[in-house]
Symmetry: C2
Subunit: 629 residues, 2 copies
């Protein structure tokens, strides 16, 4: 931290190793390490080289710590980090695998999971405690906007509303304040951090808009007492997301439980906040087909599942397919569900005159609202309840299909390598089908998980593998391509730039009765942000302000009303900030080091292209779609 | 012909077989055949059923022909149909294979073809004589527009210009007339049909714009004397395509030799005329990557090759790859050629101060024109000639690469199943690359060669396999999608609707120094044209007139000049003709029979969609691209 390398400890640890182990003379080791640093980081600039050299030097300052003699007699035992009452699945299955003892599991350990399905929500038991610093809530400064929670990549900071009873049993350190707003008079407000799940990125504190920051990063050690508060809340406090309906606005959405939490994504990940919000709004009736990539790794590295369930036991059903066919995989799920629901419809219609009056009424209600997600969630419960008293044979048949009574929110997730490149043929096929699926593309403009290869989403001038001298051609406009169908909802978003625009796009996309495509700008560790991963939200904002990324929504439903389906949501960029934006990320500045002449040319081309693209969006946004009879 | 079934002889022959063979009582056979007709053709309408029933009845009118006794002693011998002096390759390789004796070929027969390369132009030796009727030229009526030749799917009708010497040796029946136009004073004009290569579709006669038709369909037998004329011309008359440069206009282009001829395509094929013109303009420096499909079958069913060479021995290099990677295959060829040509460039530059003055001059000329196709064709000859006298070692190195001196015209061919569906991911990847390749999509709106499966190019309401009750969603707009890159030349054409527009688009596409995509409306036997395959050009015209298909060009170069890159080439359709267009093709009318209620709805949706698409093109065409400084 003092050197400026943040939480990157590898160089200092390497030096310390050579100092202690003496496998080669330490002087020689220092010489070679510094040589390697120039070779590895030379392109990234002198600053980075200097910091790493200093890390080598500081590694020499080792302190000998004597280990108590009794440690040699300790018994090996798996300890679940501070979690009480872990379920058997965690104790008998997850922990052995995480402790590299998976090979020792007997076949019988897989009983009940023969089809490969694993229980959800296991990451809550990891409590990795990897953060150096975690946010401390400054209650008096807090304006209760919930933005910290909205942007947190790991769902480790959340607002809670506590009623009298919940407050009564709380630990004494659990302080609360009066909740703002009408309808909340009887509830106390609190921001709670799960300090052992936090990765310490600091985006929450950075984004906090309070006059004096309501979140301050403090050492994990100093915040350990918060663990007790978190545990109390996790077990005793409900998520009150209906007083203001959770789909009302950004703030209200954060009172809903994230059904995606504590994933293994990088600290500050630009992708995960997008997913988290989707699970908050639709997670209780959601299915996800996830393309291989970062999102499949942090989504479900067996036996871990970062997708979890709400108090009603409902949560996303998640599965992962390959790069080249994930969209098709999701379409298959959608078609399967459609068939089941059509069957329910047919069964209900066929028996409508034969069932009792109560059943008839609830069937009719369901039939009328079959395609309405939120309503079928409610009606499904009524159907199940009513059928308990129905003697007609149809009752049994429909109860057998009860999991399909609620309209599913079908999602297809993946990165740009999948969506723009390898899986694009399938993505195109799926949106062309006109089926009601929702696609989220987390666009990091590079194959992130496989090691930073160039994709068709990589912009001109960016360095990537297979584009070591800078990508030579402009980024593909996936969103605009999808709009040509005329029946595909498309949105291009950047949460950091406009939280409400993403919120709106997400709701519109999910509600649209056809294919939807959301392309989400996702700052990534592979970009080499000079401001660090604690500023990913800020970076998403700069991207739009500078004209590097544009926000738009294309809603086919507008056209039926004689309105332009294309809405440009970002305002005229401040082009003077464009070059500064590029100079703020190593994927661009590395080019300056390696190929300075090319860099000048390519950076200009990048700006020209951004302007070209903005002009084209502007022209589209100004088109007249008035219906002339 | 009398019944109205044209050249479809199968039903009548089947009936005759049962009449003669008496394998079952003939009455029973008739009964069963008529039952089968209703089952097979019922959907296609009463007319078709009636005609087939009549064919069954007429099949009974068999006439006994006595075979001369000496026929029993004839020796089996492969006869090359009327072709004198066939090359050994034809006699020893092609003919045995075509006679189903390929298994008997010794390994040594493949000597010189170990890499799988086969000689070009073998279809000229097939002379299949499959036409019932072929066109007879009415010299006095002819206005010398050359349109018959432009539209001929099999290159079986061509205009020739004969000089005095060529005329002198001609057979007496070879009549000619004075050639129209300046510069042609010394040449006589003639339209010559190769009657044994003609398939008898009749598009030439149909398209003939002369006041009184200059082409009349007559029985093949009556036209057999034309064979002598064709043979004379094929061996003795040159193609005079430089008096008016062949790339000047449609008419001039037809004096160039088609380097694609006598293919196995269906009579009246809507695809092949597009390919033929490309070979006339660029065939002498052309490489083709051909997706599997009709175009790969008629392009090169081993050992047949319908691609041939000009008098200079140059012609298209052609190869076929699979559906899923043909675009990539073509890109690979382009990249390979680019590397070779870059190597030539480097070698020339490195040796520029060391070679003799003449070599230096020709190197400089080449370097200056490296990317100009037509010019490098000329300069290449000069380079080769000059290097014969060059002592510098570079001479040998460049002569080893002489096949790469001329800039190649790189083409990627395929149908809509390839381009819109299975190969689309690759096609997108290739156009995104920005490389100078040209793509021709022959859009039949259905997987033609594999048996009529629905593709994303299949329009709403059309019947196809996997869309037996009519396609339910609108056609994908491949062209518009490609325009979103901003650096891809795109044209949507229909030769039958506007010959000049295709000609222009083709020239622009080839000249464009980046990826080009031409989407060509191709009437197909799978459409079930009520007017028959002799009216495929007419059908392409009706498609545009009625608003079913639209013509446009998107040329990125325009934008540099502050002009709109998008040009809508077809005028406001006559929408009153739209429904009639649908009712003129069995792929639509079959729906009327099978699902009348759906048909009404889908046909309306089809028209609505056509209007929607036209409106969108119109809006794009009206955009203002003025550069504001």
């Amino acid at each position: 931290v003092e050197i400026g390398l943040g939480s990157r400890t590898n160089t200092i640890m390497q030096s310390a190793f050579f100092k202690i182990a003496q496998v080669i003379p330490y002087d020689k080791a220092v010489e070679q390490m510094k040589k390697a640093i120039v070779k590895t980081f030379g392109r990234k600039g002198e600053g980075v080289v200097k910091m790493n050299n200093e890390a080598v030097d500081q590694g020499a300052a080792v302190i000998k710590v004597d280990v108590p003699a009794e440690w040699s007699k300790l018994e090996g035992k798996v300890v679940i980090n501070g979690v009480k009452n872990a379920p058997d699945f965690i104790k008998n299955f997850v922990q052995p695998i995480n402790a590299q003892k998976g090979d020792d599991l007997p076949v019988s350990a897989f009983k009940g999971m023969e089809d490969g399905t694993l229980p959800a929500g296991t990451t809550a038991y990891e409590k990795r405690g990897i953060a150096v610093d975690v946010p401390e809530w400054q209650m008096d400064n807090c304006i209760q906007c919930n933005q910290c929670s909205y942007v947190c990549p790991h769902a480790a900071i959340r607002p809670f509303l506590l009623d009298e009873k919940e407050l009564a049993g709380a630990p004494s350190g659990l302080l609360t304040k009066k909740t703002n707003g009408k309808g909340f008079e009887d509830l106390q407000y609190r921001i709670q951090v799960s300090v052992l799940d936090c990765t310490g990125c600091g985006n929450c504190a950075d984004i906090c808009p309070a006059k004096t920051k309501a979140l301050v990063m403090k050492s994990l050690e100093s915040q350990m007492p918060q663990k007790e508060n978190w545990d109390y809340i996790a077990s005793n406090v409900t998520y009150k997301d209906t007083i203001s309906p959770k789909d009302m606005n950004v703030k209200a959405s954060q009172f809903a439980k994230p059904l995606f939490e504590f994933s293994g994504a990088c600290a500050g990940c630009g992708e995960t906040p997008y997913i988290k919000l989707i699970t908050q709004l639709f997670g209780d009736r959601m299915m996800i087909a996830n393309a291989t990539g970062c999102s499949s790794i942090y989504g479900g590295s067996a036996p871990a599942s970062s997708y979890c369930k709400g108090d009603d036991g409902r949560g996303p059903a998640w599965a992962n397919s390959l790069f080249e066919d994930n969209a098709e995989y999701g379409l298959g799920m959608a078609l399967g569900v459609e068939k089941m629901r059509d069957r329910i419809e047919r069964k209900m219609k066929e028996s409508l005159t034969e069932v009792n009056a109560e059943t008839k009424a609830v069937f009719e209600l369901w039939l009328e609202n079959k395609l309405n997600g939120a309503k079928t969630m409610e009606i499904s419960k009524a159907v199940v309840k009513t059928l308990a008293n129905e003697t007609h044979a149809v009752a049994k048949e429909i109860l057998a299909l009860k999991n399909y009574l609620a309209k599913k929110s079908m999602w297809i997730f993946g990165g740009d390598g999948w969506a723009y490149d390898i899986g694009y043929g399938g993505l195109d096929h799926v949106i062309a089908s006109g089926k009601d699926v929702n696609i989220l593309v987390m666009d990091t403009e590079v194959y992130s998980n496989t090691g930073g290869q160039s994709s068709k989403a990589t912009p001109i001038g960016a360095i990537a593998k297979f584009a070591a001298s800078g990508k030579r051609i402009r980024k593909k406009d996936l969103g605009l391509m999808a709009t040509t169908y005329g029946y595909v909802y498309v949105a291009q978003v950047s949460m950091g730039a406009n939280q409400a625009q993403y919120f709106k796009a997400l709701k519109e996309a999910e509600a649209y009765p056809g294919p939807s495509l959301i392309i989400a700008y996702s700052p990534c560790i592979s970009h080499g942000l000079k401001n660090g991963m604690g500023k990913t939200q800020e970076e998403g904002k700069l991207a739009v302000e500078s004209g590097y990324w544009h926000l738009f929504r294309y809603n086919p439903l507008n056209e039926d009303e004689g309105k332009n389906p294309f809405t440009l949501d970002s305002k005229e960029p401040d082009w003077s900030k464009f070059q500064a934006f590029l100079h703020n990320e190593v994927r661009y500045t590395a080019l300056l080091k390696a190929f300075p002449a090319d860099a000048a040319e390519l950076f200009k081309a990048s700006e020209d292209n951004a302007k070209w693209r903005y002009s084209s969006y502007k022209r589209l946004a100004e088109l007249d779609y008035k219906i002339i009879e």
